[in-house]
């Protein structure tokens, strides 16, 4: 079967089959390996992408379910500059400022969930941010710097 959707702002198409997961399509058909496969059981959140603007686990979504919709991966988060360069999204800058990553494996998923939280939380409330990160596991940081980075991003949006 063929699927067509918007991927990081571009219209794309790919040949797939019904049982293929969105994460597999992103990584293997489009080479977007920033979306990681951690557990493949819907627990760890390393595969988090946005589907129509909301964070979802792409290992728990069929590629077919994305047909006709809009997908954003970590590769599409930074702003494109005029001369082909990229400038980090404020949340990515906040992750750097707060040392919110160590080994980096969970980071793409953390950023994608963090973007959803930053867009939908009205205030940088720590309890709400931690609740929002229930679906993302990190084995390095102890979460505190990640929570602080997302809080900074929410404060900056004012």
């Amino acid at each position: 079967m063929r699927v067509a959707f918007t991927l990081n702002g571009r219209n794309v198409e790919a040949e797939t089959e019904p049982r293929i997961l969105l994460v597999t399509l992103l990584r293997e058909a489009f080479g977007l390996t920033g979306t990681h496969v951690g557990c493949d059981t819907g627990q760890c959140g390393a595969c988090t992408v946005h589907l129509d603007g909301r964070a979802v686990k792409s290992c728990m979504v069929l590629a077919a379910q994305a047909d006709g919709r809009s997908v954003l991966t970590i590769e599409g988060v930074a702003a494109k500059g005029e001369n082909g360069g990229e400038s980090l999204h404020p949340l990515q800058t906040a992750f750097r400022d707060h040392h919110a990553l160590q080994c980096g494996f969970c980071t793409p998923g953390m950023v994608m969930s963090g973007l959803d939280l930053a867009a939908h939380l009205d205030s940088p409330d720590e309890t709400a941010i931690r609740h929002g990160l229930d679906g993302n596991l990190c084995r390095c940081t102890g979460y505190r710097p990640i929570v602080e980075a997302i809080a900074q991003c929410i404060r900056e949006k004012g």
């Binding site: 019904p18 997961l21 819907g42 909301r54 686990k57 728990m60 979504v61 069929l62 959803d116």
Partner: protein, 268 residues
């Protein structure tokens, strides 16, 4: 061509454009409806099921939207937990929806999918039973009291599709649970509501399917307060025992959770 190919048994994928088309596409046995897929895809990965086709109903227009009616809130079966959590019409229901699974599951999983799956620890089961909601399908209306029959078993006929859920607006309601820290599912959860038709107390996570606590309901009918529950308990006999909790522990949790749910009961 893709490395994930070996994971799930192969199936066809259909995306009908209407409820009528979806129901017509269902053969009653070998095909399954796909809503958000947050439970179904996990089961398929484990090869616990082998449907010949998935019928994707998540985007059917007839399953979308939340309508505030006088005295009732009608929620389309395709409504995600996240969308319900953001709807402030029934505060206790919004809190319940906002406590399901995690952010990503709430963004994908749907009310109708959760009810049809009928996980014994489903949060929505407590809300539907606790409020005495009506479940509207493609062919009839099923009262919440008649819907849940057992573990992963409902009154739905093969191929029957949930279209919406009509909740009566409570005067007061609350929901409290203890989450299993690994799965996020309630070890036990209690929904307490005072509606125009009386008091209802529903429990999820503690037995094969959700159930009501009529003794608690009678006590609260005269006095909707924590004090009215003084001395009331739940026998451990019929409750679930598993690696997460003993039946006795669940029996001890239920009155505590009922009191906590009552404590939130100021808001409809």
């Amino acid at each position: 061509m893709y490395s994930g190919e070996g994971l799930m048994f192969p199936f066809d994928y259909l995306r009908p454009q209407s409820v009528a088309e979806a129901v017509a596409a269902h053969d009653g046995e070998e095909r399954r409806y796909l809503a958000g897929g947050q439970s179904l895809l996990a089961a398929l990965k484990l090869r616990l099921a082998q449907p010949t086709a998935l019928i994707d109903v998540a985007r059917l227009p007839e399953l979308s939207g939340i309508e505030a009616e006088p005295g009732r809130l009608v929620v389309g079966a395709g409504t995600t937990h996240a969308a319900l959590a953001e709807c402030r019409e029934i505060a206790a229901l919004a809190r319940l929806a906002g406590s399901i699974g995690d952010l990503q599951v709430r963004n994908m999983g749907t009310l109708g999918g959760a009810l049809a799956n009928a996980d014994p620890a489903g949060d929505h089961a407590a809300g539907v039973l606790g409020l005495g909601a009506d479940i509207h399908t493609d062919r009839r209306i099923i009262a919440a009291d008649d819907f849940f029959l057992g573990m992963f078993e409902t009154a739905l006929e093969p191929g029957e599709l949930i279209v919406s859920v009509s909740y009566p607006r409570p005067r007061r309601a609350g929901y409290a649970k203890v989450r299993n820290p690994a799965s996020g599912y309630p070890v036990a959860g209690v929904f307490v509501a005072e509606t125009d038709d009386g008091v209802r107390v529903a429990v999820t996570g503690a037995a094969a399917c959700p159930f009501r606590l009529t003794q608690f309901e009678m006590a609260l009918a005269g006095d909707f307060s924590v004090a009215a529950l003084e001395g009331l308990g739940v026998p451990a006999g019929e409750l679930s025992r598993d690696l997460h909790a003993s039946a006795e522990y669940r029996a001890a949790l239920i009155p505590v959770l009922a009191r906590r749910a009552l404590g939130q009961g100021g808001e409809g």
